[in-house]
């Protein structure tokens, strides 16, 4: 005769083994207490949370600001450092790195890539530098007026020389 209870034979069924290393009957959480598998929406929320915290961190560099002081920068606005001033009030390490990166004219997208920061954060840092006169900004060649035949011809001629 087996010393172990067989399922359905000896009621009430006690889970085994019962040597103290497992929770005693009643200590197991009721099934409602087990964490439910989150529905798909909750996975998404978690993902969003993760992403949000990943995104929020860079904005601490900007002192929590999420908008630049001037909304003039685009991905291809060219920024150029005006002087090699190395320090100043309110300049963070990232500002100085950005200044170094635009010692030669460079697009906002390039500065962002080299800083390894989102474009939005980079624009805020650059607007600080522009406010202080440490950089100049050159607007994209194509203005908001739409296509410009002279510009397109110039691009065409430039490509023909490559």
């Amino acid at each position: 005769m087996s010393e172990y209870p067989r399922y359905g034979q000896d009621e009430p069924y006690e889970p085994y083994p019962q040597y103290g290393q497992y929770p005693q009957y009643g200590q197991y959480p009721q099934s409602e207490q087990y964490p439910q598998y989150p529905p798909y929406q909750q996975y998404l929320r978690y993902e969003q949370y993760e992403q949000a915290s990943r995104l929020v961190r860079p904005f601490t560099i900007t002192g929590g600001r999420t908008e630049p002081s001037r909304n003039i920068f685009t991905l291809i606005t060219i920024v150029t450092a005006t002087a090699s001033v190395r320090a100043g009030p309110g300049l963070q390490r990232e500002h100085l790195r950005a200044l170094d990166l635009c010692a030669a004219p460079a697009a906002v997208a390039e500065i962002a890539a080299h800083l390894d920061l989102p474009v939005a954060v980079t624009k805020i840092l650059l607007s600080d530098l522009l406010d202080q006169g440490r950089i100049t900004a050159t607007a994209p060649a194509q203005g908001s007026g739409g296509p410009d035949i002279a510009l397109l011809e110039k691009v065409r001629d430039g490509l023909a020389r490559l």
């Binding site: 998404l44 995104l55 006169g133 060649a141």
Partner: protein, 190 residues
């Protein structure tokens, strides 16, 4: 523009688009004078844009990464090529990417044309002129130009160009095809 400096060049951009793995980065790498750079932007999608996915009405932020290259055309004019992300769903909301683009190149892999549909859609919706460039993956095209045109439902005014993204000259010629098209398009409209 405040703080404008006449000595610095100004820039133009062209978008290189198409589904995942169609050769966008390869094209940028082939023709760029710098190794392709990668940058990302934080985008906010409204509930309406995401609820087909998950049924929740709320704003969601997402990062979109793209790679880009640079071609100095003249001392005072620089061309940037932006490869749009192939697998991310939200890049088309990146206004700064779309605004002011001279034009776009939609890359298609003729063995799986469908992955580039949404790129065509994007340019059409944004009113950005574009050409379609079919990448020769096996050194040849699997389908004729007519078949590709039909599959993509391309109008007769949209140019279809065959090229190899690994070849610099071929990439340059693709860019030239686009810009010739842009020049012609502007000269046509009075």
């Amino acid at each position: 523009m405040p703080g404008s400096d006449t000595d610095a060049p100004s820039a133009v951009k062209i978008l290189v688009s198409g589904g995942f793995g169609v050769g966008k980065t390869t094209l940028v790498r082939s023709i760029s004078e710098i190794a392709p750079l990668r940058t990302e932007e934080v985008l906010t999608a409204s509930g309406a844009d995401v609820d087909d996915l998950c049924g929740i009405e709320e704003k969601t932020t997402t990062t979109v990464a793209l790679d880009f290259g640079r071609i100095t055309l003249f001392p005072d004019l620089v061309l940037y090529l932006f490869g749009t992300p192939g697998q991310q769903r939200f890049w088309f909301m990146w206004d700064d990417l779309a605004l002011g683009a001279l034009g776009g190149i939609v890359l298609v892999d003729t063995r799986r044309i469908d992955v580039s549909f949404s790129a065509i859609d994007f340019f059409e919706k944004r009113g950005i002129p574009f050409i379609v460039a079919a990448n020769c993956f096996d050194g040849r095209q699997a389908y004729t130009a007519g078949q590709v045109r039909q599959a993509l439902a391309l109008g007769p005014d949209i140019q279809l160009h065959a090229f190899d993204a690994r070849d610099r000259v071929s990439c340059r010629d693709t860019l030239r095809t686009l810009v010739d098209h842009l020049v012609e398009r502007v000269s046509r409209t009075p």
